[in-house]
Amino acid sequence: MFHIHCAGLCSSASVLVICCKQSFYYSFSYSYTGLPLALPRGENMDGGGGSRENVTAGGAYTEELHVLAVDDSLVDRKLVERLLKNSSCKVTTAENGLRALEYLGLGDEKRTSLEDNVSKVNLIITDYCMPGMTGYELLKKIKESSILKEIPVVIMSSENIPTRINKCLEEGAQMFMLKPLKQSDVVKLRCNLMNCRS
């Protein structure tokens, strides 16, 4: 499981081949041919449907991240989805923490199979201020989970509050980003993720 997260962020396709047969499909075609792949489009937990579409994988060194984006604001979900898709990410959106956890497989304790959604997600990006479960609470739940804790979690907020930022970083957040998000933020995010592999 941990290999998938590390491997998802670096170029070692062979690890993906061993661990997860779905990732095998992506990574094999991706690194060997560089040709257009048929990849499933990200699903939307807030009602939008998913469908199979042909997507160009881009150059051999462009990582295809599957990102789960969590935000209660419809406007912000749409914006973050577009920003990430423009950076060749596959995107799944969720409108709250509970839906996000359900998608990741934390709702049902019986699921331990690597074929679940959890094995596909390379990054979680979540808003901080959400009704019900906050982004911070979601972060904590993810870091407390043995199956999810290796997934990097990025927190977004419209408010630049140092204590809030520190609290999130201390809890294990990969990065804290200020809203509104711009394209340069997504570039920084990718660099940050790349630099974290060693």
Binding site: D72, S73, L74, V75, D76, K78, L79, R82, L83, N86, C129, P131, S158, K179, P180, L181, K182, Q183
Partner: protein, 152 residues
């Protein structure tokens, strides 16, 4: 009928005016940059979501302020949402009113809140009209066979 070039110039001027008058800020340009041939309606789509969301929030705010016992936390939550979405699309004047609005919520100042509600409704209605005008101008250009000039 205006030529494509004239329409394009009108658009550029109108857009510049909206920026100069503070209705829109740099974030709106970010939205434009995310639009391309594979997502030609992105800006209209996001802005439409903003309109729908804002109208819902403004209704909720009006109701909340009419209550016998005003729930300032609920009002603050709605204003926070409105502030966030207006900021995400670059509707700067709406966002600015929201900042003041939140301060009045914190002070539990009912009159201040009511004034801000009127102000934010006004600013919202202004920016909505202006964006709709902008989009109509874009449609005219496209219908005339031209392309929409990119922001500087």
């Amino acid at each position: 009928m205006d030529s494509v070039v004239q329409l394009q110039r009108q658009l550029v001027d109108y857009r510049a005016q909206l920026f100069n008058e503070g209705f829109l800020d740099e974030q709106f340009n970010q939205l434009q940059q995310l639009q391309d041939e594979s997502n030609p309606d992105f800006v209209v789509e996001v802005v439409t979501l903003f309109f729908e969301d804002s109208e819902r929030l403004l209704d909720e705010l009006a109701k909340a302020l009419e209550q016998q016992s005003v729930d300032y936390r609920k009002i603050d939550a709605h204003v926070h949402q409105l502030k966030g979405s207006s900021s995400s699309i670059g509707a700067q004047r709406v966002q600015k009113v929201c900042i003041g609005f939140r301060n009045f919520c914190e002070e539990r100042n009912i009159e201040g809140c009511q004034k801000c509600l009127q102000q934010v409704k006004h600013e919202y209605s202004l920016v909505k009209t202006k964006l709709e005008t902008l989009f109509k101008l874009e449609q005219k250009i496209l219908a005339a066979g031209g392309s929409i000039p990119l922001p500087m």
